[in-house]
Amino acid sequence: MSEPLVQDDQPLLVADHLGKNYGRLTACRDVSFALYPGEVLAIVGESGSGKSTLLQLLSAQLAPTGGCVSYRMRDGVLRDLASLGEAERRFLFRTDWGYVHQDPAQGLRMAVSAGANVGERLMAVGWNHYGRIRDTASSWLERVEIDTARIDDAPRAYSGGMRQRLQIARNLVTEPRLAFMDEPTGGLDVSVQARLLDLMRNLVSELGLAAIVVTHDLAVARLLSHRVMVMKGGRVIETGLTDQVLDDPREPYTQLLVSSILPA
């Protein structure tokens, strides 16, 4: 995608020789990269390539067995995630980060209203005026193209595409600086996918959001990301500008991935 990149020479997140072993099994090894503000990075690869493990390591949900992840906090200081206390980490999750799950049921509270799902994140950062919370929630529903007449319905009553859009609204309402997305268009129909991608593309560029998107779908990577990392067997085998890697793939495995796309 050719969206502008926010020019900022300080990286937001730095992975340094990151690795994870489960006993003798290596899920992910020696991953190093820097993500800059406003930059969208796609991690592509087949299932079992280690991309979801990597996303969990990057978002501090899993402790690495080697290397470290550092994040630039709002005060401008780059800190090792492993050195943060539980309260600080929770604060990051509530405010500065978003995490969009493939299955919206994991990222939403299915039994409470859509408005409450969005408003909850605001209350967690100290908002307490009911009217303002409701107004903000309703304007976010509009932004993700959900009819505000449905604000009091629980996501249980929503379609798959609506649930995913609601999950995105819930994550972005606190204006995080970084969003992690795990196969965000995974379980959706193709027509619903296109709409969601278009919406995410616009939101990411409007908010200047940095994002790390795990996907096995190269079309998603092309539409959303500035840069891709191709993973295989727990390693990053190729990395570069998205259109460069997809139009001029260098590694055998990347060539195979690219040539396996069925023409529409």
């Binding site: 969206e3 278009d198 500035h226 840069r227 570069g240 500008l241 001029d248």
Partner: protein
Amino acid sequence: MTAMIDITNAEKTFTMHLQGGVELPVVRGVSFQVEPGECVVLSGPSGAGKSSILKMIFGNYRCDGGRIGIRHRGAVIDLATAEPRQVLSVRRSTIGYVSQFLRAVPRVATIDVVAEPLIANGSARAEAREQAGALLRRLNIPERLWALPPSTFSGGEQQRVNIARGFISDLPILLLDEPTASLDAANRAVVVELIGQKKREGVAMVAIVHDDEIRHLIADRIVDVTSFAAAA
């Protein structure tokens, strides 16, 4: 150096791993310069590597050797070795690419597709749309179509939308990949005019055109790509 583009000994080889690692040399020893206000046309038969060279200058194809110097924000940057972030920055404020085919963005109105590069560089939406409208009118896209996404348009109309999107910017370098293919005579003349206007504004251009007549009208210099043939 005053040149906007300064290419020295650039080369490109494709290695086809799925075909048993066949090496496909495309070009070697590519060297030429483009000054501000100059339009260089790449010539040579189909398959000689013209589009590959254009894609290398845009950073879309990787360069296996040599140097692609681009004057970007007052300094020279070598695109052959630049970081992805630098390439994106060059594309945002220095190099534009007008391809033959529009990569349609679903759901976005034609007028906004055309105005987007200006808005991305900080212009006000209303002003950008006004300029977009003027260009679309000049390229004979009727106003009743402006609110529709271009994916529903005919091939020639899509190409004109693409040209409008490419020419609306005030980028100092433009790469043109067959900008007049599949256009009728009237619209070809408009494109020739637009290129002339860009030259007067000091824009450096590299173009691929198959039509001899158009080539004579726009080329300040012709670079024969067959001399860069990388015979295996």
